[in-house]
Structure formats: structure tokens, C-alpha cells
Amino acid sequence: MTTPTLTRPDTAVVSRPSGTDAARHRRKRVLNWIAVHSVAVALALFFVLPFVFVLLTSVMSDDQAMSGDLWPDSWNWSNYSTVFHTPGFLSWWRNSLMYALVGTVFTVCSSVPVAYALAKFRFRGRRTAMILVISTMMLPPQVIIIPMYLVWAQQFHLSGSLWPLIIPMAFGDAYSIFLLRQFLLTIPQEYIESAKVDGCGEFRTLLKIVVPMAKPGIAAIALFQFFYCWNDYFGPQIYAAQNPGAWTLSYGLESFKSAHAVNWNLTMAATLLVMAPVIIVFFFAQKAFVEGVTLTGVKG
């Protein structure tokens, strides 16, 4: 905050008129302000310029997009409708939305009771259970993908759809359980005790007392899960690749670029259309989102 004085305060006061000292102090503060803010502006450019270039390219004409120009000659907003009318693009949206919404509902419904039990029940093996939850979080999905794929494809004949990705979410998600448990630990035990004294059953206590108090935590896990599904590429590639009718936006976008090998303008328009929902949702739910990130990191 304040610049540290390297000379001892008493000598400074004695040897110099206090007016000069204050002026020097102010000048140092101004210089500090300028230094900090110029670094911040330079960094902000690093983070924001990619979006700007993507946007500018997305409205260029086909020819100009290949030229390396930075500023569009004409603003072809029709590129966006071209992308929307590309065969498949709308169904990718529908699939992404289905995957993300159903997956989120499943995750929340199955993870809330588990997180509650891990945070508030006393039973032997609680610590072991937590360690196991964390180790599933740590496991790279590629480690178990082959047996899982074989089961879904050969026993249930569900490859070519997103169900092998959605159904497991009805059985709890380690990351959501962990995050929510951290949140539930902050709810005072007294609320739960008094609900029980009033004759609430365990399940009613959860629904009527704990869930309303845990809304920010639940909002955070819902958002994270929604974004996880929306962004997922590996899962859809494994299960949906062979059936274009089941592709999601993330998976489709990459094949969109491959198919339009030269059309960077259309690709950039499509790219922004894939990013848009995430960024719009963020602006509406900023608080829940940032709280969730903080919770995983800081209160661990």
C-alpha cells in the first residue's frame, strides 16, 4: 500500500521540512499508480485482443479473411446467419443444451444429499469417503474410458448418443460433492439441530432448511456442471463421433473448421457463437461463479 520508508522516520522529520516530504510521498504514489495501471492495461490487452480479432475477422468477406488484414472493409453480419444455416449447426446447439441441462439437473439432485451426509453426518469412514471422493476428482478420465466405452457400446448399445455421458451424472459428481461439502460445512449445526427438535425428518431438514441456505453453493455447482458439459469435447468424441446427429457444439466446431478449410471468417463467427452462451450466463451469474471458484481453492 504505502511506500516503505527506508530512512528512519526521526531523521527524516528532523532533516527536511515536512512539506517537501509530503510532496515526495505524493509523487511516489502517483508514479506507483501509473506503473501499476500501465502494467494492468498491457495485460488487459493480452486478454481482450484475441476476442477483438476474432470478432473483426468474423465479419470479413471470404477473400479478406484469408489476407491477413486486421480491419474489415465491409461488415458482413450475414456470416452469422450463414453459420446458423449450416446443416447440423442448430442440432449441435440442441444437443449441447440437452447434455448440459439434463446433466446439470442430474448432478445437482444426486450430489446434494451426498455432500450433506459428508458434511453433517457423523459416521465411521467419513474421512475415507472424502479421500475417495477427492481421488475420483484426481483420476484422468482417459484411465477408465475404454472399459466404460465397451460397456455402453456392447451391453447397452448406447454409443452414438450422449446418454453414456448423462446417465452417470445421476450418481453424483465428485467435484460437485467436494465443492458443496465445503460450502455446507459453513452452515451452523444449530440450524439443523433445531429443525430436528421441531420434529423435522432428515430429508425434510435437507429440503426445507439446508437447501435454501446452500443456494449459493448449489448455484455454483450447477453453473460449473453446465459449463463442463457445454465445453466437453472428449466425452462427445468418444460416444457421439460416429453419429453426427448427436454431435455437440464443442465437437461440431472443430469439424466445422475442418470442413471449411479456408473460411476463417465463418469459423470465427461459429467460434463466437459457441462462446456466447457461456459469457452471457457468466454476466448474469457472476457472483455465484466467482464464489464457487474461490470456495474450491481457498477453503480447501
Binding site: G68, A117, Y149
Partner: protein, 332 residues
């Protein structure tokens, strides 16, 4: 898991004075046990079916020859020896994964911490800067990668265009084996938002009095960072390193998409492309698992690769976790 939950049931009965069969105490205990099991049941099922089973099956398949059509046959350690001794791409994939783990995690932590420190010093327009630094983290990985392949296009991309105005000859980024991994690192630094938020929150938690005390002692900025800030945030830094290592061990989407798009191959149905363009420089172990299991249908080798990945991820995590008590979840 189920095992460790049922132990209390048995040991309770074996106590010094076993409670009578129908005592209220015992009934209450049984009720509580059932209630706990009920609440945990979604996860208990999920854990055994979607974690326990496939992990065991992966070990089983690692000893089998299996092409996903004919029934698996036992081949002993042949898959293991093939992967560890002969497989031509295993070395490069392992090297790339470890390179990314070391360089990417280190730079992400340093950069994230730097931005966290900067943001706590900004006095004007904090909200605006915070949003600007955070937003790229939200960009879907595929979209971000497609955008970066465009931005870093060697001949027509905006980045090299701007570098040439400055009289610099930009590198070939994703098209040069020496620059492809650094390009991926750049992409990951762009999405640093999550770390920034975590570091920011922990920096704001450092008690103000300690800084004031250090000021009175005439400490400089570095001394204050070293003796006040750093001890307070060490657990968070460790958390960032561990989660960073785990994430980077799984590094897949960005490397795959960048390699595919930069190679300029248009992919039709049935095209099998060699992953890791250029010169296998972006091939990671997870990609090798995918291409072994789902393109070459060599289930055994793919499962061996999975287990190698698992072993390294576990070893690194345990090693780092052991260094810190703060990481073990609080038992309230």
C-alpha cells in the same frame, strides 16, 4: 467404500457390553446407519460402477489381447513390454506430457500469482480489469483453441501481422515443432482466470496488521512478500500446483484440436490422422490412449497406457499432498 462403512456395524456389536437386541440405543444406531447409507447411495453406486469397475477392468484388459471384436485372450505381460519397450510414440508422448506438466504448471502459477498481486494493487477500475482477466477462462477449450490457431497462423494471423509491423519475424507457432508446445502454454496462460480469482481471494485474506508491522520495521516490498505474503498463501499455491498437475496430466482437447487444425488436413469420415502435428510435438499420453483404443483398436496397449498415466498422476499428487497438511480437507 461399502466395506469401511459397514465396519462400525460389526464392531459396535462386539463392544464390551453388547446392547440388548431391541434397546432404543441400538435401534437409533441402526436407523442412523441406514440414513447415512441412504444419503450416500447415489455416490456409492456411482463410485463402484463408474470408478471401481472400470479401474479393475482396465487392469484386466492390460493383460489381454483384445481388438473389440473377437473375445479377449490372455497374453501376460506382452502389452506392457510392447508399450514400455517398443512402442515408437510412447517416448515422445510421455516427454510432451511431462514437459507440459512442468512448464505449463510453473508458468501458470507464477503468472496467476503475479496477476493476483497486481489486482490487489489496482485502485481504479478494479472491476473492469478483473472481468477482462477472467473472461477468457470461460471460453470453451475448443473455441479458444480454434481462435488461437487462427490468431497464431504463421502467414496471415493477426499476431505475426502485428509483429511484422514492429519489424519482427514471428515464429511459425503451432506449425513449428519447437514452438507448438509454447503456443499451447500461451493459450493456457490466456485462460488463467480461475487461478487469478483463487490467488486474489487468498491475498486479500492475509491479515493487514502484519503488513503494517512490517512497514514499521522498514521492510521493502520483497521482504514483505517473502516474510508476510508467501507464508500465508503457501497452501493455496500448493493447491494450485496439485490441481494444475492433475489437469495437465489429462491435457487432451487443446493439443488435439490445435494439432489437427494447424496441420490443415480436412477430416472426412474414416480419415485416421496421426495425432501430434507437427512431428508428434503435441502428442500427449491421453491422445495416445485415444488413438490406441479407438483408432487402432489395440485395447490392451491402450489400457497399459491408461495405467501408466494413472500411476504417474497418483505418484505426483501423493508426493505433493504429503508436503502439505493444508490440502487435506478440514474435518470441521
Amino acid at each position: 467404500m461399502a466395506l469401511s462403512l459397514s465396519t462400525p456395524a460389526k464392531s459396535a456389536g462386539r463392544g464390551a457390553e453388547p446392547a440388548p437386541r431391541n434397546s432404543p440405543l441400538r435401534r437409533k444406531r441402526n436407523r442412523e446407519r441406514l440414513r447415512t447409507l441412504g444419503f450416500l447411495s447415489p455416490w456409492l453406486v456411482g463410485f463402484s460402477v463408474f470408478f471401481g469397475y472400470p479401474l479393475i477392468a482396465t487392469v484386466y484388459f492390460s493383460f489381454m489381447h483384445y481388438n473389440q471384436i473377437k473375445a479377449p485372450t490372455f497374453v501376460g505381460l506382452r502389452n506392457w513390454r510392447y508399450v514400455l519397450e517398443q512402442m515408437p510414440l510412447f517416448g515422445p508422448a510421455l516427454w510432451n506430457t511431462l514437459w507440459l506438466v512442468v512448464v505449463m504448471v510453473a508458468l501458470r502459477v507464477v503468472f496467476g500469482l503475479g496477476i493476483g498481486l497486481l489486482i490487489t494493487k489496482i485502485k481504479t477500475g478494479v472491476g473492469l480489469f478483473r472481468t477482462a482477466f477472467y473472461i477468457p477462462y470461460l471460453a470453451p477449450p475448443v473455441a479458444a483453441t480454434v481462435a488461437f490457431v487462427f490468431l497464431l497462423n504463421p502467414s496471415t494471423g493477426p499476431v505475426n501481422e502485428i509483429l511484422s509491423w514492429l519489424g519482427l519475424h514471428g515464429p511459425s507457432w503451432f506449425n513449428d515443432p519447437n514452438w507448438s508446445k509454447p503456443s499451447l502454454v500461451l493459450l493456457s496462460l490466456w485462460g488463467i482466470g480461475d487461478l487469478m480469482v483463487i490467488f486474489m481471494a487468498s491475498l486479500l485474506d492475509v491479515p493487514k496488521e502484519q503488513y503494517e508491522a512490517a512497514d514499521l520495521d522498514g521492510a521493502g516490498s520483497w521482504t514483505k512478500f517473502r516474510y508476510v505474503t508467501w507464508p500465508a498463501i503457501t497452501p493455496i499455491v500448493l493447491f494450485a500446483v496439485v490441481t494444475g498437475v492433475v489437469q495437465t496430466m489429462q491435457y487432451y482437447t487443446q493439443a488435439l484440436v490445435a494439432g489437427k487444425l494447424a496441420s490443415g488436413v480436412s477430416i472426412g469420415p474414416g480419415t485416421v490422422i496421426q495425432p501430434g502435428y507437427p512431428d508428434h510435438s503435441t502428442l500427449t499420453v491421453p491422445q495416445l490412449v485415444y488413438s490406441m483404443g479407438f483408432q487402432n483398436f489395440n485395447t490392451g496397449a491402450a489400457c497399459v497406457l491408461s495405467l501408466v498415466l494413472f500411476a504417474i498422476a497418483m505418484a505426483v499428487t501423493l508426493l505433493l499432498m504429503r508436503k502439505s497438511v493444508g490440502l487435506i480437507p478440514a474435518e470441521d
